[in-house]
Symmetry: C2
Subunit: 396 residues, 2 copies
């Protein structure tokens, strides 16, 4: 049984969706069946009779019912910007000769963890790298990321994430070897599928040949393997704009999340980055704000047990607009070692970074403002009024 082989089927979902003639936005039921949930999401997303405003309200209500006022917080640390991928849209792509390549020493990892823990009061952190083609580089990257995850856990971080490309069991074994069995529930694997349409995926990710990432099935199977290894936290995602049929992405994300929850998953995150039409163009996106908001509302409504994510790729204004629908907020910079230059603002230098961010406030500023001005609590962030009790400065 695997998601790719046994579940993913957009034609089937479209047929099921065509049979749905009524959506009850006041429902409190959770649909567990991946096909039925995907069809419901597709039907909602495409139904012009359901306004985005009504959908937002319904999504908020359901999100609150399942996840209360909690929003999970974490901050990304880019360990390197080397990558063997050839994905057209990405600043880290192998053939981007204008990107200055960087690699973290162990001290850089420790200093960033210390800064995020002590100065930013974070207890959730993600490690990001490129994806590599040959067996040695894939193994070596897994080793380094396993090391970093273990350092973060030893440092006192409660939840750790990694976003390092697809992972096969042999590489997961290397990572798992760094993680004590009792800590496995604290480790999330982020493998964004980019698009659930295999044809478009292949066209987009394999521009020039032999990138490992060009294999759609290897990528999607990573989540099945992660479950089988005894891990329970997954981030899935779509790079919105690769597939013009956004409904197919909504259906794919929902089917995938519901499938994972039906196996061993305890938490599924939805990552929804948006494609820029061309590198270097500022804030234009192929999927507009209103469409993104509708995707988010649909996901929050159909899968309120999961967590829709937003990052500082998006503006502060858009973050605020969808805050009640979010299960996770992850402010950060894609610069390697980026938190150590300026304690007041995150850097945003496209000579070294994967993409441009729209919001350069420090994570602490973002989270303190959310907690001060809204009803939401940030999980894995030590709130201002809890710092006295929990100890303002960790002892390392």
């Amino acid at each position: 049984m695997s998601f790719y082989t046994d579940v993913l089927n957009y034609e089937k979902v479209k047929t099921l969706a065509a049979d749905i003639d009524h959506i009850d936005l006041s429902t409190t039921k959770i649909i567990k069946d991946p096909d039925v949930a995907a069809a419901t999401a597709l039907s909602i997303y495409n139904n012009n009779d359901i306004s985005t405003e009504a959908l937002i309200e319904a999504g908020k209500r359901r999100k609150k019912a399942y996840r209360k006022n909690n929003i999970i917080g974490f901050v990304p640390i880019y360990l390197t910007n080397h990558c063997d991928g050839e994905c057209k849209m990405c600043g880290m792509r192998k053939n981007n000769d204008s990107l200055v390549r960087q690699f973290s020493t162990p001290s850089m990892i420790d200093e960033q963890l210390k800064f995020l823990y002590e100065q930013q009061h974070m207890r959730g952190v993600a490690f990001l790298t490129g994806e590599y083609n040959d067996g040695f580089a894939r193994s070596a990257n897994a080793f380094i990321v396993g090391y970093a995850l273990r350092r973060a856990l030893d440092f006192g971080f409660k939840t750790v994430y990694m976003n390092i490309g697809s992972l096969q069991p042999e590489y997961m074994e290397i990572i798992a070897d760094f993680i004590k069995p009792e800590d496995r529930h604290r480790v999330a694997m982020c493998v964004n599928q980019e698009t659930y349409n295999e044809t478009m995926y292949t066209r987009f990710m394999a521009q020039e040949g032999d990138a490992f990432k060009a294999n759609f099935k290897n990528r999607i199977d990573s989540h099945d393997s992660w479950s089988k290894m005894g891990f329970v936290s997954h981030q899935i995602g779509s790079l919105l704009g690769v597939n013009k049929d956004v409904g197919e992405e909504v259906a794919g994300l929902i089917a995938h999340a519901k499938y994972l929850m039906s196996t061993t998953a305890k938490t599924v995150f939805f990552s929804l980055p948006r494609l820029n039409p061309a590198l270097g163009t500022s804030n234009k996106k192929l999927v507009q704000d209103d469409a993104l908001v509708r995707v988010i509302a649909t996901l929050a409504f159909v899968a309120p047990e999961s967590a829709v994510m937003m990052t500082t790729r998006e503006t502060r204004e858009l973050q605020d607009q969808v805050m009640p629908l979010l299960g996770c907020l992850a402010p950060g910079t894609p610069e390697v070692g980026g938190y150590l230059n300026d304690p007041e603002m995150m850097p945003n230098n496209e000579k070294v970074a994967q993409f441009r961010i729209s919001d350069t406030r420090m994570p602490r500023d973002t989270f303190e403002r959310v907690e001060a001005n809204t009803e939401f609590n940030i999980l894995d962030f030590v709130s201002e009024n809890n710092r006295a009790e929990t100890g303002l400065v960790a002892n390392h």
Copy 2:
């Protein structure tokens, strides 16, 4: 000032050697000048009037005067057998599709360290890997090796070695970041030049194209960079048989060692592996035993302050024959994770190993026999009668 640019010059050494008309085998003087020492070594090696027996006796005497009855011991741990090199003679070469590739998890590293420390009573250990072409793989390998060196030092090993291909300052920085400044004198870099003849080097190491290893200068410069980084322990070497003019290798090794000792080096090891005429052929060598013994005796005589190494590539009989000339004995297996399969014998499986070993006794057996039957003490090995005092079983 660098060895490659300012010292290495076989033509000059040959001219100087031609002017030497008398060798005094009873001398107690150490020649420090690299050119003069190399010319002396070349003159001795090629002089048919000096018998190998007389040279052995003189070498023994001088070795004993400078290094006493001490022989440094260490054991190699292969972390992986992945390699991007294309060196014809090597089982790990990239295009050897019949080699099963392996990669160590952190547990495997720890288990081998524990076994070598507790069961084999070793206090010296070397980490070996392949060499990689692209910046990420080179950086990642440096990170993993730095991690392993640090684990070994933390475990209680007194001297640690690495043999991971040439190293440039950016990769040394990653390794150095794992090593406390006060521990730097305990870390040796092993970069065997294979041959000091650049033309032959290039022909041999770059069979099929773009291996990083094909760059002769990058390789030789590694030692200059290592000194500049504040490290003081170097292993240099020749793969005997690549260059038919063995005298050129003797001259190159001596010039290199004397040059390094004139900068900041405290210890220089000579590694002298021998090329087999073809892969898979058993024990035939291009350089015969008598020639190897003469090389060893010449090096011991001209550079008794340095340490000629021998490994279990060579038979027990040959080890015994040259023991009084050796500064270092390093028994071990080139199998990844090889010490954990059988506590009685080292494995020797060419499906996974870089080369075949001639002596499969465990390191402890080798060293105990040396200490029981000869006048030599093995450094970085806890002798049988010292175990009670030093604690038989380490507490980890």
